[in-house]
Symmetry: C2
Subunit: 295 residues, 2 copies
């Protein structure tokens, strides 16, 4: 196995283990809520965001358990956003990671609530002294994640995406939309690894550059996979943007220019890591993987 | 005007002002999201939770702006929970504070998303150094609020409430349900005022006792108002629990014993404040108001 394949397999095991430990089933009627949270959080997803946290944290010799806790917090936000995006009033999706979406498996109200509780879980994890003995580190993690998740980040991007239907967004607007919708959380993941490593904001500029570039490359790759991919392999419905008349990088650039653009962004992302040696190899591999992945 | 009436009018103005400043309208398609957040957050509600934060903070001579920021954070959580509770898949309510619920005024997807973004806003506010220059204070606020809001608090109580339909919960189970669903956030409000006052956990025990008692008294009063109240005055639909066959304090105790129980809890709450002088008068008034209010 390559370095990256090993790292992905490892983080998937570790994050499943973390959620399993963080979400014990209570012996009261709240158990249905925790069962729903476990259904959505355990055993699915690439765990790309926790991998970014862990790979960055490792560069700065951060304790592995701290990195996994921060990774689980970002992933809890990602999972909650998928649960709410899948709801009938949003994308109305039936499948996620090849199994029924949460509202199909349980019911809509439980899905809304399990998403909300996972949203809190992220901040419960980060504010717990087990994540870092340093309160400043913990509060910087909270600040970075809440800003990336809210109206100035992911939720704002999600709203732009909803408004996109019926509008003809141009390339700068689609870029901005995707920077918020997907890029903000990917960027926060890298940033949180560096915060755990006690790197001051000035020392994180190049990592933010790396994160911004892979975030856009990720979305272009997603649009290409959506355009060309196979629903069975993806484990979810595809080509919904085209049906809804939304502009994507592929619709605006065409597949060939989109592919070239993604590839250029990966090169640029890797260039941001020039000051680092072998310790940044995993982040370099992640950048390449982001455009080479098959789903 | 009484001390309490003045304090309520003042905090309502101040919290409206805080949300107005915290939610500037962006000049891009995210504006719809922020408009929805403003619609739900500004100009409605008693602001009881911010009042509890501010009244407790004032006892310990905390800067007013810090207390208002923490109060706005608790209120953002309260408002997000009302938005999601009102959704068609949850309580399916059309009216809130006498105006159309958010999903009626905008649409369901916008309501889900605006709730999510207000949820983040709470932690964005608390993690901002403007709330407190001390990172330990900020992270303790985050920890208290996220725990009170999630599966071990409000969201857990909400799930118990959903399961309650068709079950015959006994008094201890209804008490536990309400302690989570309503009590957790009221308790967090008092606790956050004390955290801003740099009172250590041991020094907050009596305040937690006060909060627990007023939390239960609040819910019993709510059940009585629901049983006897007027829908126009309440600005929302009433007697939905009875229709759904859910047990309440009134259905389990009868109105007379319920009223006596609420009154005993208020006395007990006030007794918890015995060590404080005049500086706790507002908290005492809040305790009395909680059972005397007409909506």
């Amino acid at each position: 196995m390559t370095l990256l394949a090993e790292a992905l397999a490892q983080i998937q095991r570790e994050i499943d283990g973390k959620f399993d430990a963080l979400l014990p089933l209570p012996a009261d009627p709240r158990s249905r809520l925790v069962e729903a949270m476990r259904y959505a959080a355990i055993g699915g997803g690439k765990r790309l965001r926790p991998l970014l946290v862990a790979a960055t944290a490792e560069m700065f010799r951060v304790d592995r358990d701290a990195a996994l806790r921060a990774g689980a917090a970002v992933e809890a936000i990602h999972v909650y956003s998928l649960i709410h995006d899948d709801l009938p009033c949003m994308d109305d999706d039936d499948l996620r990671h090849g199994k029924p979406t949460l509202h199909r498996q349980f019911d809509e109200a439980t899905a809304v609530l399990a998403g909300d509780a996972l949203h809190d879980l992220a901040f419960e994890i980060l504010s717990d002294p087990a994540t870092s003995g340093d309160p400043f580190t913990r509060i910087e993690l909270v600040r970075t994640l809440s800003t990336a998740s809210g109206a100035q980040g992911m939720a704002g991007g999600q709203m732009m995406d909803m408004v996109a239907e019926g509008e003809s967004f141009d390339l700068p607007t689609v870029t901005r939309l995707q920077q918020l919708k997907t890029g903000a959380l990917l960027g926060a993941s890298v940033e949180m690894g560096a915060i755990l490593g006690k790197i001051a904001p000035e020392g994180r500029t190049h990592l933010r550059g790396y994160a911004r570039d892979i975030g856009l490359a990720f979305q272009i790759a997603d649009d290409l996979l959506d355009h060309e991919g196979d629903e069975a392999a993806a484990g979810k419905a595809l080509r919904k943007d085209a049906v809804a008349g939304k502009e994507t990088f592929v619709s605006l650039l065409g597949p060939e220019r989109a592919r070239a653009q993604a590839s250029a962004l990966v090169d640029q992302a890797i260039a941001h890591l020039a000051q680092h040696g072998k310790e940044a190899d995993l982040l370099r591999d992640v950048a390449r993987y982001i455009v080479e992945r098959k789903h």
